[in-house]
């Protein structure tokens, strides 16, 4: 046996794909976790069918999991993959589009029988008919090899069939030189009550590794050195889970009860599911009859002194429009989370989009300015949610938190913060019943006090009618209305004094500033980095705060000749920026229910640079 050659690579993208029942999500997660433990930076993208239970073996039933890891900063799950592991023909057919020309296909040849080829609508076997000549195809009879590894254990065929994914995983561990131990440990814990499964899965995992090591099929192994990621304790986290944790952290720092009122909707429901598990953490969840009940129940809870939150997605967010106005008028803290999905209307419920930005800013009657914050990655949902709560409580205002299906479902390593290191959150309570007026504002912040039922002396009435300055009584006075309207808006503008100034990554002045918001962060960052590496005069500005904009926004952008705004919509942020500056603004818009690939952005940058050169 000749020792295998070891090749160093910077970053790799692998995609596992198989039938919904093939354990692809577990395989991918295990690979990602082990890789993260090794110190690589990682980003993952699960991709499963919209149907509850799509028929086995069909294109509709394919489940995929993509992992991008490297020794440098990794910001996206990867545009295209280097290796595609497929368990059946449908998986191949559905995923070939994501494989780089010249990439490798590792196929379970046992999965390619007549029936499965027909189900995948292949007229001939692609592994044989030459149609994959642009790729390196490795046919491995994984099912058979798995059976052989387990033949003496007397297991039912279904169990054997189900463990074949560990073979593929073991093989990939071998190929990318990762240890088996973390997965072996996971198997031991997961199946602690079924020792026969511990034995079976562990064996198959090792069999996969050994297959790589011993056969002559693979000539090369790869080494991906650790990345210089920040030291500390990590775990993988999805965006929705991070959002839930961010809310809990904020409640903890504010010393308030967390109250989530919600109505299930894809892709936001997981926030509700997650929080419903934490009854012993001062968390109450209330599943309501609809989204309007959810937001108004949250407003009621906020009136009662809780950190009140409501979570939803597009259509449900539309339903909350009227009540958002009530929260503006009553000036109560409230966080409204919109995990955006493809629209309009029911649209593409399981796909991602960024098309609710203008709605977040303007989607209610009257002048009703509300802070809007967008998360940029799965783990960033934690900080964004925390920040949304902090602003809501400290500024006595509803805050809209925008995430989307892509980062809500996607996962990445999260540097676990120490709860005590997070900022404190200080509600503004009234302290003197004699001086108390419900709409008497703090002079600097314009914030009104939060008087909580149950305390003598602060009895007061609020509501959706216009109210008199300071006293809060109903008032139809014209001048008072104008004053209150301006005060409410000014209160939000003054948040500029507490949110961080914008900074651009890259040249501090130059040809082109690429401005993005939300989940496109990673793709834009990668694209701009590559252009910087090529010596281009570009920079990247990411807007976390969409209302108000950072104070130095206009000044900062004026240092560039032109602006490019890539968005997963038809140009909503671009329009906001247009109203604020006179620079030429270019747009890159994609409305396909999919995230950007960084090359798409790179190409556009190059095109724009050519144009303005």
């Amino acid at each position: 046996m000749t020792p295998k050659k070891i090749e160093k690579v910077n970053d790799v993208t692998i995609r596992f794909a198989g039938d919904s029942g093939d354990g692809i999500q577990i395989t991918g997660t295990q690979f990602a976790n082990t890789t993260a433990i090794l110190g690589n930076d990682v980003s993952t993208l699960p991709d499963y069918p919209a149907e509850i239970r799509a028929p086995q073996g069909t294109l509709g039933g394919v489940s995929g999991f993509q992992i991008h890891f490297g020794s440098t900063e990794i910001n996206t799950p990867g545009d295209m993959c280097d290796v595609l592991v497929v368990m059946n023909p449908a998986a191949l057919k559905a995923n070939l589009q994501y494989l780089e020309k010249g990439g490798s296909i590792i196929a379970n040849s046992d999965g390619f029988n007549e029936r499965s080829l027909a189900l995948a609508e292949y007229s001939s076997n692609p592994l044989r008919d030459g149609s994959l000549s642009h790729y390196h195809v490795y046919e491995i009879n994984i099912t058979k090899l798995t059976e052989q590894a387990l033949c003496d254990l007397n297991l039912p065929p279904k169990v054997i069939e189900r463990s074949k994914n560990f073979f593929a995983l073991g093989l990939m561990f071998w190929m990318y030189n990762r240890p088996l131990e973390p997965t072996l440990k996971w198997i031991r814990e997961k199946f602690s009550k079924k020792p026969e499964l511990i034995e079976a899965n562990s064996r198959v995992l090792k069999a996969g590794w050994n297959f790589g090591e011993t056969t002559e099929v693979f000539k090369v192994r790869y080494e991906v050195a650790p990345a210089r990621v920040a030291p500390g304790k990590y775990r993988n986290i999805t965006g929705n889970q991070a959002t839930a944790f961010g809310l809990m952290a904020a409640a903890h720092r504010a010393q308030l009860e967390l109250f989530l009122a919600s109505y299930p909707i894809t892709p936001a429901s997981d926030i509700l599911h997650e929080l419903s598990n934490y009854k012993n953490y001062n968390v109450k969840t209330f599943q309501c009859e609809d989204e309007i009940a959810a937001i108004t129940a949250a407003i009621g809870a906020s009136f009662g002194g809780a950190l009140a939150v409501t979570s939803t997605s597009g259509p449900g967010f539309s339903l909350k429009a009227e009540a958002l106005g009530l929260a503006v008028m009553t000036e109560l803290p409230l966080v409204v989370i919109n995990v955006q999905r493809g629209g309009p209307s029911t649209g593409l419920p399981t796909k991602t989009e960024q098309a609710d930005l203008l709605q977040a800013l303007y989607g209610r009657n009257g002048e009703a300015s509300v802070p809007v914050i967008a998360a940029l990655s799965p783990s960033d949902c934690f900080s964004a949610a925390f920040e949304a709560c902090k602003i809501a409580i400290e500024a006595m205002t509803p805050v809209i938190l925008l995430t989307d299906g892509y980062i809500g479902n996607g996962s990445e390593p999260w540097l676990i913060p120490d709860i005590h290191s997070l900022p404190t959150i200080e509600p503004y309570y009234p302290d003197d019943p004699k001086k108390f007026k419900p709409y008497m504002r703090n002079e600097t912040t314009l914030v009104r006090p939060w008087a909580i039922p149950g305390i003598p002396g602060f009895e007061h009435r609020i509501g959706g009618l216009e109210k008199k300055e300071n006293t809060g009584e109903i008032s139809y006075d014209p001048v008072n209305h104008e004053r209150m309207t301006r005060l409410r808006t000014e209160k939000i503008m003054r948040l500029q004094d507490r949110i961080p100034l914008a900074t651009a990554e890259g040249h501090t002045q130059g040809d082109l500033l690429v401005i993005g918001w939300g989940s496109t962060f990673g793709a834009i960052r990668t694209a701009v980095q590559k252009q910087l590496d090529k010596g281009k005069s570009v920079a990247h500005l990411h807007l976390r705060y969409l209302n108000p904009f950072p104070k130095n926004f206009s000044k900062l952008i004026s240092q560039y000749k032109a602006i490019l705004v890539p968005e997963l919509n038809l140009g909503q942020l671009a329009q906001l920026i247009r109203a604020r500056c006179r620079l030429p603004i270019y747009q890159l818009n994609k409305v396909q229910g999919l995230p950007f690939r960084s090359v798409e952005i790179e190409q556009k940058i190059e095109e724009v640079l050519r144009g303005i050169a």
Binding site: N33, I37, G39, P182, V229, P231, G232, K233, Y234, R235, F245, M248, A249, H252, Q255, L256, E257, F259, A261, K279, N280, Y281, N282, V283, K284, F286, E289, I292, A293, T296, A297, A298, I299, G300, A301, S302, F303, G304, G305, A306, A308, E322, G325, L326, I416, I419, P427, Y429, P453, G454, I455, P456, G457, F458, E459, R461, I462, G463, G464, I474
Partner: protein
């Protein structure tokens, strides 16, 4: 973690448990209803009952929607929330779940509570959150100047039904019973004593209490309930339910309701053929009987029932929630957020 709200509640030295008077529940705001409006009487009775029950004003929250009736919270010196149209019950639900220590009253109208707010209404009833819902039924949208509501009578001529209403109305009591209510009552603005009684009963009930209050809008729907308030005739039109008592009515208490199987009939107590013992004995704890009596209104000649239709016991939403919280704490201890974040598969990068 002790929440700041708990700390606040503990810190502020509570007023003595003094006896309160109706005046303590009067806010500085002057009621702005039309002269003669039935809302005035309801306000007065509520203030009286609160004083009788001596719930401290700061422990009370009145939540309303939009409508003439929904202006109520401004006139009562407690914590108050004048919400948006139709959402009073949802706001109140959130408040009560977050703050089970606060006594929550909802003020709503036939439009606010049964038209736009109908869904929150039925869901609150089945959940049995411990709030008290007072629905001021004037069979009209008054604040918007006189369109028909879901309780307006079939055929009623209103601003939006110049040829007569072709909807059939809800019977709010029947609807509530059908929606799995635990407490349902009906009363009327012009009978202060009965009104007070009903308010007290609602206050005492654990779970969602619902009172339909007939309220005269003397501007847009004057007199629709006259036959139940006019002292001359009301005894023939109104039937007052009392638990454990026979269903007797009539000016001379000379008529009664008998059940022929499950079919109600009026019997005369002075025709020599019948006696009180033929009459149904009312039972507040029987849902079927409650429904049967509620739907007397379907029969043109039957009297309209007032009083407590139903009062049954079922654990409240927030009680069960607090139990689940307790048991989660018992089982897993008080949650530590730091621990939670650090749980699961973690790894350390040096």
């Amino acid at each position: 973690m002790v929440t700041r709200v708990q700390t606040l509640l503990n810190t502020f030295s509570f007023a003595q448990n003094k006896p309160y008077t109706p005046k303590d529940y009067r806010s500085k705001e002057e009621p702005r209803w039309c002269p003669g409006c039935g809302n005035y009487s309801i306000l007065t009775q509520v203030q009286k009952v609160l004083a009788d029950l001596s719930v401290p004003p700061y422990r009370l929250a009145f939540v309303s929607g939009i409508g003439c009736s929904s202006r109520f919270p401004y006139y009562i010196n407690t914590y108050g929330f004048h919400g948006i149209h139709g959402r009073a019950i949802a706001i109140a639900s959130g408040l009560k779940i977050a703050r089970p220590d606060i006594t929550v009253w909802v003020i709503t109208g036939d439009g606010d509570g049964l038209s736009i707010g109908g869904n929150h209404f039925i869901h609150a009833l089945r959940r049995n959150i411990d709030i008290n819902i007072l629905l001021f039924n004037n069979q009209i949208y008054a604040l918007t100047k006189g369109q028909y509501s879901p309780t307006s009578e079939h055929g009623a001529i209103t601003k939006s039904s110049p040829d007569g209403v072709i909807d059939y109305p809800f019977n709010p009591v029947a609807l509530a019973i059908g929606a799995n209510s635990t407490f349902v009552a009906r009363t009327i603005d012009r009978d202060p004593r009965h009104l007070q009684n009903m308010l007290k009963r609602a206050a005492m009930h654990k779970g969602t209490s619902f009172i339909e209050i007939y309220q005269n809008c003397n501007v847009f729907n004057d007199g629709v309930f006259d036959r139940f308030s006019n002292k001359e005739i009301r005894d023939d039109y109104a039937l007052f339910l009392e638990h454990g008592k026979p269903l007797i009515f009539g000016k001379n208490r000379n008529k009664a309701i008998r059940l022929n199987g499950y079919i109600p009939e009026i019997i005369s107590l002075d025709d020599g053929k019948h006696s009180t013992s033929d009459a149904v004995i009312y039972n507040e704890q029987d849902t079927t009987l409650a429904f049967l009596i509620a739907t007397l209104s379907n029969h043109p000649n039957m009297p309209r029932p007032f009083g407590v239709f139903l009062d049954i016991t079922r654990t409240t939403y927030e009680t069960e929630l607090l139990e689940q919280i307790e048991s989660a704490i018992t089982k897993n201890g008080k949650g530590d957020v730091n621990e939670l974040f650090n749980s699961g598969d973690t790894w350390i990068i040096q």
